[in-house]
């Protein structure tokens, strides 16, 4: 249940809009690759959704049963749970443009 400790990593007081964005990052083990993905994701969110997002990191090594629910195939995978519809981006998120397109953040702030 370790990954839960990682949630709400982005600090900051609640904004008017609250936690409008819920993201899940599925990784396999705490490898440098997983770390890179998390850092990339946080960078994008900070630039576009500061204070309006929440990231939950799920380590499939520890919770393999959770892979089925979000139809996880690849790691790392980011799943946008909210706002709907659900959107998925896979990879270490090194290509920022794809992440923006994938999570539909282009029009955002």
């Amino acid at each position: 249940m370790g990954p839960k400790a990682k949630r709400r990593r982005p600090p900051g007081p609640k904004r008017i809009s609250g936690d409008r964005w819920q993201l899940r990052l599925y990784v396999m083990d705490e490898t440098p690759k997983s770390q890179t993905a998390l850092e990339n994701l946080k960078r994008v969110c900070e630039s576009r959704l500061k204070g309006r997002y929440r990231i939950r990191v799920i380590d499939l090594l520890k919770q393999p049963q959770l892979a089925r629910g979000d139809q996880i195939l690849a790691t790392p995978t980011v799943v946008r749970r909210l706002p709907t519809p659900i959107r998925t981006v896979i990879g270490n998120l090194s290509d920022i443009d794809t992440v923006l397109v994938g999570l539909d953040l282009r029009a955002g702030a």
Partner: protein
């Protein structure tokens, strides 16, 4: 059949095998799929890949105590449950009892965005979790190629697939991976590159508008296997491959004989009829009475209290019973008693595989002692010649294994009686009756030959086959100097012979009477002559008497005269004349 296949497989090769439980497939592969290795099953759309894979899993869980994992990329769990339910598999129940795990992997092409490097650990984790949760020994991935539609980075995908197959082997599970058939390679995305242990190719071909499925083991590393293309069918009890070439010939045989229902036909067959459990072919041109002989045979069996299953491919049950009624064969009561069952289906209704499956199901359910196929030729037309022969072989083998006597009627197209397809089929048959038309004298007459009857003395003679409202009978055809005569010609010939015999009889009687008359006349003549002879003798005697009298009278007269004339008494000639008279006498 299954145990036999498993046994022979383990004897023949050292490679451990995993029985599929699919009818016929274990025979072709000599025991099943390679245990602990992945097998690729490829084929076009709708050729039964998923069903084969699902049956492998279900039979593993039910028959061999091996739990399984079904990872489905194309169908949801609910869809799969519904699809395999048509084969009589309770997938939902197996899932509930934790014998099988179904994991539906949803991939929506275009919805997954890729940013940077990734791997397929997510898939591995899911698979691993599913395998461990039930202790699975069998895994099905259906259809892995969906990944190619969802993920665009083929380099990553290919290296991950390679890793996946290595991982599956390391895990020790027997896996079946299905893949779509490619245009100029086995699979669209070249999966055969990764799965090299065993490759099975499925195919769904249409011949003459009728579809038949085929299965071929393209490759089986380290094992012998049937290399032919085998037709297979998807029936109510799962898949069934028809491995004709691997079927062993070791049926139990019976010495029991069963009557044909036509006493004269029994007489032609050594007096006892056919062997129980044998296969009988009845060929004939249209209208020669094939169905009638078949119906007689059926009735005879029912009268012995045996069940008869009558497959009709041209007539409806009502039509057959009505027609047979007209020759005094009452079949309806037998149907009502449950001894006779009809199964009518148009040959073109579905492919051979489906016909075979339906027939097997019917036979298994009704447990008949006699099965009739009328006519088998129209059913064989539903496939190619070799498929048809394969089907008949399979059918006969199935029936013989159960000691069921089978009668197949076969329609010849007139002209040549021994068509090639029949010659091919006849080698499978134990007895072969030929019905033929004899044309002449402005009429057609039916005749019957026994062409062959394995294992029994049988008549080699032609018989005329008569059908009347009292039933059927066989009579000797007339064989004389002018050839074989049948029908009215035979009747005329018989009548002619009768008349001739009568005439000669009358002639003899007449001559006898004549001679008798001559003899009587002679007799009369003889007696007339005799009486004439007697009469002349009498006359002679009378003449003599007369002469004597006259002499005496004369003497008396003379002596009287002499006395009167006072002649010398001493010169009386009396005694001399008397002596003379006595001499004459």
């Amino acid at each position: 059949m299954k145990t036999k296949a498993t046994k022979s497989g383990s004897q023949a090769v050292r490679l451990p095998k995993c029985p599929t439980g699919i009818q016929g497939l274990d025979e072709i592969t000599r025991g099943g799929l390679p245990r602990g290795r992945p097998t690729l099953v490829c084929g076009g759309a709708g050729c039964g890949k998923t069903l084969l894979a699902a049956e492998f899993l279900v039979r593993g869980a039910v028959q061999y105590g091996e739990p399984g994992v079904l990872m489905a990329f194309e169908e949801t769990e609910a869809e799969l449950v519904a699809n395999v339910a048509s084969l009589g598999f309770d997938l939902a129940g197996l899932v509930r009892r934790k014998r099988i795990v179904v994991d539906y992997v949803h991939i929506e092409p275009g919805e997954i965005h890729e940013s940077g490097e990734y791997d397929l650990e997510g898939l591995f984790v899911r698979l691993n979790h599913a395998i461990d949760s039930v202790g699975a020994k069998r895994v099905v991935l259906d259809t892995l190629e969906a990944l190619f539609a969802g993920l665009s980075n083929e380099a990553i995908l290919r290296s991950e697939l390679r890793r996946l197959f290595r991982w599956l082997k390391a895990k020790g599970v027997t896996a079946v991976i299905t893949a779509e058939r490619g245009r100029d390679q086995l699979t669209r995305h070249g999966l055969e590159e990764y799965v090299s242990d065993c490759v099975i190719l499925l195919d769904h071909r249409v011949n003459d508008q009728i579809a038949t499925r085929h299965l071929r083991v393209v490759k089986y590393r380290g094992s012998l296997h049937g290399t032919n293309e085998f037709p297979f069918l998807i029936g109510a009890a799962g898949l069934s491959v028809l491995p004709i070439t691997s079927l062993a010939l070791n049926h139990k045989v019976s010495v029991d004989r069963i009557a044909t229902g036509i006493p004269r036909l029994d007489a032609m067959l050594g007096g006892l009829g056919f062997f129980r459990g044998s296969s009988i072919l009845l060929t004939g041109t249209p209208g020669t009475g094939k169905t009638i002989i078949a119906a007689n045979f059926a009735q005879a069996a029912c009268r012995r209290g045996e069940r008869v299953l009558f497959f009709s491919f041209e007539e409806s049950p009502n039509q057959i019973t009505r027609n047979m009624q007209s020759i005094g064969l009452r079949l309806v009561p037998l149907v009502k008693k449950g001894l006779l069952r009809f199964h009518s289906a148009r040959p073109s209704l579905y492919g051979l595989e489906m016909h075979l499956a339906t027939m097997f199901a019917e036979i298994a359910e009704f447990q008949p002692a006699v099965v009739i196929m009328d006519p088998i030729t129209s059913l064989m037309d539903a496939g190619t010649t070799s498929e048809g022969k394969g089907m008949v072989t399979r059918l006969i083998d199935y029936l013989k294994a159960g000691q069921v006597t089978s009668l197949f009627t076969s329609l010849t197209q007139g002209g040549h009686v021994l068509q090639q397809s029949e010659a091919a089929m006849s080698s499978l048959m134990d007895s072969w009756l030929l019905l033929q038309d004899f044309e002449g004298n402005g009429e057609r007459n039916r005749v019957l030959y026994v062409l062959k009857a394995r294992g029994m003395a049988h008549s080699n003679q032609i018989r005329e086959f008569l059908i009347s409202d009292r039933g059927v009978d066989l009579v000797d055809a007339y064989i004389g100097t002018s050839g074989v005569l049948t029908g009215s010609a035979r009747a005329a010939q018989t009548a002619r012979e009768k008349a001739e015999a009568l005439a000669s009889q009358q002639e003899a009687a007449r001559r006898k009477r004549e001679i008798e008359r001559t003899r009587m006349a002679l007799e009369r003549q003889i007696s007339a002559l005799r009486s004439e002879h007697d009469a002349s003798a009498e006359e002679l005697r009378q003449i003599d008497q007369q002469v004597g009298m006259q002499t005496r009278l004369l003497k008396t007269e003379r002596s009287e005269l002499g006395r009167l004339r006072q002649a010398d008494v001493s010169v009386a000639p009396g005694p001399r004349a008397g002596a003379r008279n006595g001499r004459i006498h």
